[in-house]
């Protein structure tokens, strides 16, 4: 009996425990199910998912690089740091202010005030001290911080020095390793503006969007199971320019030297390949260190003067006679041997035109007219050509409209043609020798390149190739016009080559036959032309029988001499003399000998 009772008791205890455990188990399962399905839980779950499951951020692609034609980097990116403070972790504000003030060039009190900001999880978590700090400075700070951490681990002792709380966030910024080289062509990227940064002028301005790529706002999963969804953005496209770094450097040196030597207000030199339209070098004064782009407004109060080669229009003077003579030869109005008796005066549209020296040069042929740069002769040539044809040719040479060179900031001056309110009959005579018509150096270089390239005018361009999505797309040269035929181009080249030899021009380079023309243009002051200040220019190309380069020089208001023969022609010579070496162009006799082999 007793054993049966004990047995029942034993059984009931087991049963009781089992039932309790089962109920508890069911309760746990029920509670889990309830929590999973309850509305508040679902709201919390949704909020947590939205808040902590994904991070929305803007992925800014790395800005594309810019290289010269040989693959030398002209514009790249480098790592700099934003130095900030994790306010909760700051241990010793005084140390932070004292150490950082001289290193990052910020006021001690400003730094101390920032470091003393009281941490608040809702309003004050992080404070920026300085952005765009170079890595060598950050390295110094980190070294000091590590030393302090040895004597005062974790900044536990607030009376001991500690840099605890400093945060270094790296990011890329634009960098120009060649400083001011090709600055007028490259333009700049305003990297200090971070989110609002953009390219200005030149290549950086023109190709801003493709260099920048497409910044993309993405939702990045923080859940490691969704890792495959991490999005990526392609970097911006890189550009390979037609510029040759060595030639560009040489041209800038010669230009700066010439501007100083001749006391010019400014200067521009363009070197291009007339066969392709590729710009090999293009320099203007002043150049600027692109890493300090914020000084651009001081250097270029008029923004369009950033690159005078494409942004400044001027009356070119006698270099324009190349176009007038090309038009007349092409139209058959004259031939190289057409005689002309220069009396030193001609009337066009009822207005008298004189030569540059106000004297008569007697019997001439067209080569003589070009060699002696006779305004009267060229005005006569234009009258032989007639209004309609003369302006048709000028338009065919691209005068009066932009060349559409692939750079930001190109300017142009509209060409006045018969019928326009600003056009007068005398314009035919004055335009013939480059007065009353305004052009940019790039317009002139492009137009004259047609003469150097057998009559075909190539599109001037600076970008040789674009690298996008890991592939290089080369840009082919384009013919934009054929204003004159091949024979005209060859005849005129011969005329201008002979005229340089005939006058023993300072532009000549020993061993090389060069064709070219000077231009000295009076500058109108208070509506009247005066010879006190001039624009001097020279356009030349060579070797004459197989032109591989065209050089255009413009010196504004030289003070040592008003004449192009004593300023721009010499500058041309200095460039051409070094250019033939850099381009590997042998002297004519050696070249002919090598070609014979």
């Amino acid at each position: 009996m007793k054993s049966a009772m004990l047995k029942n008791l034993h059984f009931s205890r087991f049963q009781f425990t089992g039932i309790i455990c089962t109920i508890l188990g069911f309760l746990v399962v029920f509670q889990v199910a309830r929590i999973q399905t309850s509305a508040p839980h679902q709201e919390i779950s949704k909020w947590a998912g939205e808040t902590f499951g994904y991070e929305t951020k803007t992925l800014t692609p790395e800005r594309g690089n810019i290289y010269d034609r040989n693959g030398n980097l002209l514009a790249g990116n480098m790592i700099v740091y934003e130095i900030g403070l994790d306010l909760q972790s700051v241990a010793n504000p005084h140390t932070i202010a004292e150490v950082l003030s001289p290193l990052i060039d910020k006021d001690y009190n400003d730094l101390l005030a920032a470091a003393n900001i009281k941490y608040d999880p809702t309003t004050a978590i992080y404070a920026v001290l300085k952005d765009n700090v170079h890595s060598d400075i950050v390295l110094k700070i980190k070294t000091l911080s590590a030393q302090m951490d040895k004597t005062n681990p974790g900044g536990a002792n607030s009376s001991q020095p500690s840099l605890r709380g400093l945060v270094y966030t790296p990011h890329l910024v634009r960098s120009y390793p060649e400083y001011s080289l090709a600055s007028n062509i490259l333009g700049f990227f305003s990297f200090q503006e971070r989110q609002n940064a953009r390219g200005y002028y030149g290549i950086e301005g023109r190709y801003d969007q493709i260099l920048a790529g497409t910044p993309t706002q993405v939702t990045v999963p923080l859940d490691p199971y969704l890792i495959s969804d991490i999005p990526t953005v392609d970097p911006g496209a890189s550009l390979i320019l037609t510029i040759n770094r060595d030639i560009q450097g040489m041209v800038e040196q010669v230009l700066n030297k010439s501007v100083n030597k001749y006391g010019a207000a400014s200067g521009t030199i363009i070197v291009l390949n007339p066969k392709t339209g590729e710009i090999l070098a293009m320099a203007s004064t002043p150049q600027m260190n692109l890493n300090e782009y914020w000084k651009s407004s001081e250097l270029y109060p008029q923004g369009y003067m950033f690159d005078r080669a494409i942004g400044a229009t001027y009356e070119p003077g006698s270099v324009f006679k190349i176009l007038t003579m090309a038009a007349a030869l092409d139209a058959g109005a004259v031939t190289p041997t057409t005689p002309f008796l220069d009396t030193g005066y001609i009337e066009v549209g009822g207005v008298g035109i004189y030569n540059w020296d106000r004297s008569a040069w007697g019997p001439q042929d067209m080569t003589g007219c070009m060699q002696n740069s006779l305004n009267v002769c060229l005005a006569w040539v234009a009258t032989q050509l007639g209004n309609e044809k003369f302006y048709q040719y000028l338009q065919a040479f691209g005068i009066g409209r932009p060349t559409n060179i692939d750079l930001s900031g190109e300017q142009y001056w509209p060409l006045s043609v018969p019928g326009d309110p600003q056009w007068y009959p005398v314009n035919l005579g004055t335009n013939a020798f480059g007065q009353g018509v305004a052009v940019t150096p790039i317009q002139m270089a492009t137009a004259i390149s047609a003469v150097a390239n057998g009559g075909r005018m190539m599109a001037p361009h600076v970008v040789a190739a674009i690298i996008q999505n890991g592939q290089q797309y080369n840009i082919s040269p384009q013919v934009i016009a054929s204003p004159i035929n091949e024979k005209t181009a060859k005849d005129l080249t011969l005329m201008l080559s002979n005229s340089l030899v005939g006058e023993s021009s300072a532009a000549l380079v020993e061993g090389y036959r060069i064709a070219g023309k000077t231009g000295t243009a009076e500058i109108p002051i208070n509506g009247r032309y005066t010879m006190d200040v001039t624009n001097t220019s020279f356009a030349g190309w060579g070797p004459s029988d197989d032109p591989q380069f065209l050089i255009y020089v413009w010196l504004e208001k030289p003070s040592s001499s008003i004449w192009a023969t004593e300023t721009a022609a010499l500058t041309f010579h200095d460039v051409a003399e070094q250019l033939v070496v850099l381009m590997g162009i042998p002297p004519d006799n050696v070249r002919h000998e090598l070609q014979g082999k």
């Binding site: 790395e62 690089n65 290289y67 034609r69 040989n70 693959g71 030398n72 980097l73 790249g76 990116n77 480098m78 790592i79 890595s135 790296p170 990011h171 890329l172 960098s175 390793p177 060649e178 400083y179 080289l181 859940d223 490691p224 199971y225 969704l226 890792i227 991490i230 890189s238 390979i240 770094r245 060595d246 450097g249 040789a464 190739a465 690298i467 890991g470 592939q471 290089q472 797309y473 080369n474 380079v509 020993e510 061993g511 090389y512 003399e577 070094q578 033939v580 070496v581 590997g584 042998p586 002297p587 050696v590 070249r591 090598l594 082999k597």
Partner: protein, 151 residues
């Protein structure tokens, strides 16, 4: 047979209980193994995910460092620096009259620089990852059979 079983149950009823308990524990153990396996795989997947996140961050850092180093190299190779070094080493610019030109058969002048493959080029188009890492087992078997058949 049935008589023997009921006889055995009468003599040792705990055997049946042990059988039942064993069955329960077996199911429980199975469930635990499945749960452990699931947890292990989940943990591995999470770990792999975190590693991938970490690698992705490292990749970004490395890309930045490459860009930085490329620019640093360009600083070292810049025209000004190179000219300074060349001058220090005693080099000087050559003038046109001192240049010696020789005919090199077949040389047609400098070629345009190629910093990336041209469109249509086969450079880098072959997959970098070996097929073994991406093939399914069926692909692998099929490929193996096909290759052995060809041999």
């Amino acid at each position: 047979m049935n008589r023997r079983l009921s006889q055995a149950q009468k003599q040792a009823p705990w055997r049946i209980r042990i059988q039942s308990a064993g069955m329960v524990f077996l199911i429980l153990a199975g469930a635990i193994v499945v749960a452990a396996l699931y947890l292990s795989v989940s943990a591995q997947a999470a770990n792999a995910g975190l590693e991938l996140q970490d690698l992705d961050n490292k990749k970004q850092d490395l890309e930045d460092q490459i860009a930085d180093q490329e620019t640093f190299l360009a600083w070292l190779d810049s025209t000004t620096k190179m000219e300074e070094r060349a001058t220090a080493l005693g080099f000087e610019r050559i003038s046109a009259d001192r240049a010696l030109y020789v005919a090199v058969p077949g040389y047609t002048g400098p070629k345009p620089v190629l910093l990336a493959p041209l469109p249509g080029s086969r450079f880098f188009q072959d997959p970098v990852i070996k097929p073994g890492y991406t093939q399914s087992i069926w692909d692998w078997l099929f490929e193996g059979v096909r290759l052995s058949g060809n041999q």
